[in-house]
């Protein structure tokens, strides 16, 4: 039986929607235990209101909560009994197998980083995000591409970018059922020599990697086109990219709202496009995807969107369950070990 720890107090709609989502997941996942960490009294008042399996849900009390707008490092230091810290502890001590939270991203990453062990060969963990693209991919016809790192760490060296590429490829293969995901480095040009030193070096290393389908460098405009299934970059760049993409999407919605209010003709045009807009909305519905993983640790963390409601949280738990069943962390670890062994062999082999 897998044990998925859920930070019940993390997120804009916590604990109500988080508990409801976990309850829903307890019915869908027949042999998984859900450990809800947070204010036991509050959780205990929500659970009886929703359908769930009482034998598969456990409550673990935690006194403190880290709010969405708190400064991560200060909050983690000041609140050792916060739900996210206790949840990460449970996984670290082996009482849980994976962690799901919709809470303060920085605090989540920090809580995991301070308690969990990195996989051999990984120096920095990477937070991944998904972005809807024109292209569909894999067995599941997945419209999302994976971008990593989007902010777990600021800087990344060539070896880190290579590790991110291997981890992202393993995730896309297992979760999106994409047998040979196209992996690319994000740069300011498609040529191998373009970009900062770390990207140029990573490019050279990845060209040697036979384990993954490395397609070279891509530029920012290639991301929404879906040219690559896994886009690799440093946390600093990734965070800027993701925030900008979110901002563009919000601006488009804002413009549509403005148009709707401004002119009857524009309103009519939008009404005519409504089914298409709905299809687009369905396609880009982040709630169905659930959450994005923090990769590189021996344990799995799925970060659900801060605005997650029950459906999104339930889907995030299902993603965690799927990753556990497929032994995602083990696969990543084995992939990295294989890559490093071949790299070491290449270094020690005498020149022909």
């Amino acid at each position: 039986m897998h044990r998925i720890v859920v930070d019940a107090m993390g997120g804009d709609h916590a604990p109500d929607e988080i508990v409801r989502g976990a309850a829903e997941a307890s019915l869908a996942l027949r042999d998984t235990e859900l450990i809800l960490v947070g204010d036991a009294a509050r959780i205990g008042r929500i659970l009886p209101q929703v359908r769930h399996d009482g034998g598969r849900v456990r409550v673990h009390h935690a006194d403190q909560v880290i709010a969405m707008d708190e400064r991560p490092s200060e909050a983690i230091a000041a609140k050792p009994d916060s739900s996210i810290a206790v949840a990460a502890d449970l996984v670290a001590s082996g009482e849980g197998d994976a962690l799901v939270s919709a809470g303060n991203t920085g605090a989540c990453v920090l809580a995991c980083a301070r308690r969990w062990t990195l996989l051999p060969g990984v120096r920095r963990a990477a937070l991944a995000a998904v972005y809807p693209t024109e292209l569909r991919r894999g067995e599941k016809n997945d419209p999302f591409s994976l971008i990593l790192d989007v902010g777990a760490t600021i800087e990344a060296e060539a070896a880190d970018l290579v590790a991110f590429a291997l981890m992202g490829a393993a995730y896309a293969e297992i979760i999106s059922k994409n047998p040979r995901p196209r992996v690319a480095l994000l740069s300011n040009g498609s040529e191998a020599g373009k970009g900062p030193r770390s990207v140029v070096e990573a490019h050279a290393l990845l060209l040697e990697a036979t384990d993954i389908n490395f397609i070279g460098n891509i530029e920012g405009l290639d991301i929404p086109r879906g040219v690559a299934d896994v886009v690799v970059c440093s946390g600093y760049v990734g965070n800027v990219v993701v925030k900008m993409l979110e901002g563009v999407a919000e601006t488009v919605v804002g413009l549509a709202r403005y148009a709707y209010k401004e002119k009857l003709l524009w309103r009519a045009a939008l009404a005519m496009l409504s089914s298409g807009i709905q299809r687009l909305k369905d396609l880009t519905d982040w709630e169905q995807y659930g959450g994005a993983p923090l990769l590189g640790f021996e344990n799995l963390f799925i970060k659900a969107h801060g605005r997650s409601r029950a459906r999104a949280l339930s889907n995030a738990v299902k993603v965690a369950d799927k990753a556990l069943r497929a032994d995602l962390c083990g696969s990543i670890g084995r992939g990295l070990a294989g890559f490093q062994a071949r790299a070491a062999q290449a270094v020690t082999a005498p020149p022909r």
């Binding site: 456990r58 409550v59 009390h61």
Partner: protein, 347 residues
């Protein structure tokens, strides 16, 4: 002739003891064609029934809405599970069909209520009762109504209105009213346990008061009966052992079931702590290493679950059983059933 008993246990079968699907015609046909070997018991249900049977003064009555034509196969299934019973009442749906009483085919209240009252009339004195049902149909309403009739808080006029709301035929209503008039009064129903086959939210049953406890599984039933002083710690472990043989249950699942009752205020923390002590004692005196390991594992998991609740208070609920408006409850249940049927058809 009336019989003597120190405690009466009444069990429903489908969705309470047996894992049965009868939401669609196909399910009904499938269920009717199943052999005794095909039928599946909920983990722990047979062990609990066998534990209750251990006292010779306990009376086990099975009252099911299954058609009486299934008596042979159901009796064979109970025999396979090693269940002995004192009474086995089934619904004569063939007779309902031949008399074109189509309403009676599905109606639960006009069938089950008189069956319960008639069975009660056959028992000497006013022994306590524990009733087992499920959330699929109207068991909670029927059992509470029965309990309140025995307690003498339902007048003949109110009962007549309930039977009318339940769409009882005139002769069914007359018979029920006569049985209710005749039955010996006494607040005998100690506990109503509702198996959450549909996983209905437990808050849906809050208005029935403290007497009715919704349960997710039979370990929870055993825990409630342990707290009631009806089963011992050894019998509880017997139920746990049977459940652990099923792939659906592991020690953490049992421990979570205990924690769920604590959170809902259906089991006192002191009772849980007393139980942990008894399981630890059982572990120390276990006859073999496997039994010892199991008991130790259960005691440790239970302690963890109690501790991990912190100081969180359980849900508050009124100590007394509230006065229920059965006409409204029956009406609501009827509407709910129609709504479900409509949804099923449209999907």
């Amino acid at each position: 002739m009336a019989v003597r008993a120190t405690h009466v246990f009444r069990w429903d079968l489908d969705k309470t003891y047996l894992r049965t699907e009868f939401d669609t015609l196909r399910d009904l046909v499938k269920s009717a064609l199943e052999t005794a070997q095909d039928k599946k018991t909920y983990p722990g249900a047979a062990a609990l029934l066998r534990s209750l049977r251990q006292s010779p003064e306990h009376r086990i009555c099975i009252i099911s809405g299954s058609p009486s034509q299934m008596r042979q196969v159901l009796a064979a299934k109970l025999a396979l599970d090693g269940i002995e019973y004192d009474e086995f009442v089934l619904k004569n749906n063939l007779r309902n069909l031949t008399r074109l009483r189509l309403r009676a085919l599905r109606a639960q209240v006009p069938y089950k209520l008189p069956a319960l009252l008639e069975s009660r009339s056959g028992v000497l004195g006013t022994p306590p009762e524990t009733l087992f049902g499920d959330d699929a149909e109207a068991d909670a309403i029927i059992y509470c109504l029965y309990a309140d009739i025995l307690a003498g808080v339902v007048s003949a006029g109110e009962l007549a209105r309930v039977l009318e709301a339940a769409r009882a035929y005139d002769d069914q209503a007359e018979r029920t009213l006569a049985l209710a008039e005749r039955v010996r009064r006494g607040d005998a129903v100690r506990r109503v346990l509702i198996h959450l086959d549909r996983r209905s939210p437990t808050a849906m049953f809050a208005h029935f008061g403290a007497r009715l406890v919704p349960i997710y599984n039979y370990f929870q039933a055993a825990l409630v009966l342990y707290a009631d002083g009806v089963v011992t710690a050894d019998q509880l472990l017997f139920v746990a052992r049977e459940m652990l043989e099923s792939p659906e249950f592991e020690i953490p699942t049992l421990a979570n079931s205990l924690q769920d009752l604590l959170r809902r205020g259906r089991l006192a923390r002191a009772v849980a702590e007393e139980l942990i002590g008894q399981v630890q004692t059982a572990a120390a005196g276990a006859p073999d290493p496997d039994s010892r390991r199991m008991a130790e594992g259960i005691a440790a998991a239970f302690s963890d679950r109690v501790r991990h609740l912190g100081g969180a208070p359980p849900l508050e609920r009124p100590a007394t059983t509230p006065r229920l408006d059965y006409v409204a409850l029956v009406d609501a249940e009827y509407q709910h059933r129609r709504e479900r049927k409509r949804r099923r058809r449209s999907s």
